[in-house]
Amino acid sequence: MRILLVEDDDLLGDGLRAGLGQAGFTVDWLRDGRSAQLALEAESFAAVVLDLGLPRLSGIDLLQQLRRGKDPVPVLILTARDAVADRIAGLDAGADDYLVKPCDLGELAARLRALVRRSAGQTSPVLEIGPLQIDPLGRAVTFRGMPVELAAREFDLLHELAREPGRVLSKDQLAQRLYAWGNEIESNAIEVHIHHLRRKLAPELIVTLRGVGYMLPKQPA
């Protein structure tokens, strides 16, 4: 899952990026509100971790503009402002969650997973699509009752497809959701991962629509 982290403090931003990376998130980190706004306009993220005191465009302003533009991306405010009035203002401006610094990385990751889950309309933390079970927390996959060992990127790819079963996702969309900026992507990376997934699971599980993209059917064969 690709997360946008907006935090102007170098040391904290670096720690959060590394920590969320360890938790299995793909993290893009920006240091000011204006750049974050541009990034959100151009690309799609599973969720946003937003600091409030940001240069150029404050977190609250960014959030309000985002919601005015009908962007439904889940937003978690992570700030040092702990006053109740600030929390209320943040949530009322359109935030989905509010966490005060300093916080536990595990809790932050769990809240992000919950936000993403809820935004996709799921109730259970474990995704179930036919014979396929995906546990985003444990990063574990079970197929027809048997655990399957997947590489990190393979898991991420399967997870992205499973989050929106029945929807066709293009290679570009998948690449965008899987890779942070600055990561070199080989042109056939997605195809390679799909190939591995089919081999480890079942060839017919992921459907290819030529020239369009890939899809995990709601009721796989």
Binding site: D9, L11, D14, G15, G19, A80, P102, C103
Partner: protein
């Protein structure tokens, strides 16, 4: 009333004392006047009686004493009046019933006073040349004294009886007049300890207004400083939370690190975070101490202090390949060398922090006509004029500076300058590039 120090008791005592004294003065002068008038009146009466008696004495009889029959006294004072008629041979020819047998007065004419037997008399004597008799009319002085005493009584009795009534009325009046003070005291007493709302002005009398005004001024100043303190505390907690969050995140990253390199990097960042927070805490403590009061001043040389500050900054400057320059002409000021070093250290630290590598930070001191001055100039990005005032605010950082300063350095500089009554100016360094901070001290050490 109960406490001797109370306004009410003082007012009451003063009013009563003034009343008593003025009343006594009025009574005494009234008594003296009345006595004078009374004496004149009674003397006139004596003289008149004498001339009336004289008019009745037409026939002079050679011999024998003539007893005149007396009507019973018509007035209570009448029996105190006596008269005698003496012939030229010194024989008593006529006297009133109560008159003594000896002469009332030795004088032939006019008023006199003399004791006769056990009595004192005031006597009017008149010589009748036709009848060739001496008429003397006397009045017992006792009776005059009685009248005087009665007048005195009439003056003093009301005074004695009216004084308690007056006191009671005064107590009521004073209590009523002082009621606004009680109301004010009650309003102050009833306040919550943390309430700094102004007291209501309405209904306060003119004498109490300055007090209410001063109290409200005090409340206003307290509220301002309390607000400042609250804002500072809020800002400080905010500023402390971010580095703590960073340390925690980095520590957790180290915990979850997959390999040694990742762990080492994260732990190095934990240490960097600790350094940052200890710097911030140090700056906060410095500021708190500066806020606490003034520092002892002694003569010192800015050039000397600048030299020390540069020695301390040599290491961080070297790391960024920044050249430190000192042009230190003697600049004597009256100041606290410890604080001045903190000031210079902060200015030099800032200059190094915000300057690009391989640039120059120049420190200059000198004497102008009106006093010593110092300047720290760098070749960094400078501060736009619109933000030069705001950077002195606590925790304010120039947006986009990309540096993790405490946001307190220039606040500390500004506060120390204030304690030295020095003028702090932020401007552009030479060629309009970089920041130049100038401090002008008044007078010399």
């Amino acid at each position: 009333m109960k406490r001797p120090g109370s306004l009410r008791a003082r007012l009451l005592l003063a009013t009563l004392a003034v009343t008593l004294v003025s009343w006594t003065v009025v009574a005494v002068t009234g008594y003296l006047d009345t006595k004078k008038e009374l004496d004149a009146l009674l003397d006139a009466h004596l003289a008149q009686s004498a001339s009336l008696l004289m008019g009745q004495l037409e026939v002079e009889e050679e011999d024998g004493e003539i007893e005149l029959e007396h009507a019973p006294p018509a007035h209570r004072y009448e029996r105190h009046l006596v008269y005698q008629v003496w012939d030229r041979n010194g024989r008593l020819r006529l006297r009133s019933a109560a008159a003594p047998g000896v002469r009332l007065a030795s004088v032939q004419q006019g008023f006199s006073e003399a004791p006769v037997g056990t009595e004192h008399y005031r006597v009017y004597s008149a010589w009748n040349p036709q009848a060739r008799v001496l008429v003397q009319v006397g009045e017992r002085l006792n009776s005059r004294w009685m009248v005087r005493d009665e007048i005195l009584e009439h003056l003093l009795i009301p005074l004695a009886s009216a004084l308690p009534v007056l006191a009671a009325l005064l107590i009521l009046a004073i209590r009523r007049a002082l009621r606004p003070l009680n109301t004010l005291a009650l309003a102050v007493a009833k306040r919550q300890p943390d309430s700094l709302e102004p007291l209501p002005f309405a209904g306060a009398p003119q004498e109490v207004l300055p007090l209410v005004d001063q109290l409200n001024g005090l409340f206003r100043r307290m509220r301002l400083s309390l607000d400042n303190e609250r804002r500072f505390t809020a800002d400080a907690s905010h500023e402390l939370r971010t580095p703590i969050a960073a340390i925690r995140a980095q520590a957790q990253v180290a915990q979850g690190a997959a390999d040694g390199t990742e762990r080492r990097t994260a732990l190095e960042r934990v240490i960097a975070g600790c350094d940052r927070i200890s710097h911030l805490t140090g700056q906060l403590l410095t500021l708190a101490r500066l806020d606490a009061g003034t520092a002892a001043a002694q003569p010192c040389d800015l050039a000397e202090v600048a030299r020390e500050a540069l020695t301390e900054a040599a290491e961080p400057a070297h790391r960024k390949s920044i050249e430190l320059q000192l042009d230190g002409a003697a600049a004597r000021v009256q100041g606290n060398p410890e604080l001045l070093r903190v000031l210079l250290r902060n200015l030099v630290d800032n200059a190094i922090r915000y300057s690009p590598p391989r640039t120059v930070v120049a420190l200059t001191t000198g004497m102008a006509q009106d006093g010593a001055w110092l300047e720290v100039a760098d070749q960094g990005p400078g501060i736009p004029p619109s933000q030069r005032q705001r950077v002195l605010d606590r925790f304010y950082r120039v947006v986009g500076s990309g540096e993790a300063g405490s946001g307190l350095g220039l606040s500390i500089v500004s506060r120390i300058a204030e304690l030295h009554a020095a003028v702090l100016e932020l401007g552009e360094a030479a060629e309009g590039r970089g920041l130049a901070v100038r401090l002008r001290f008044r007078g010399s050490g």
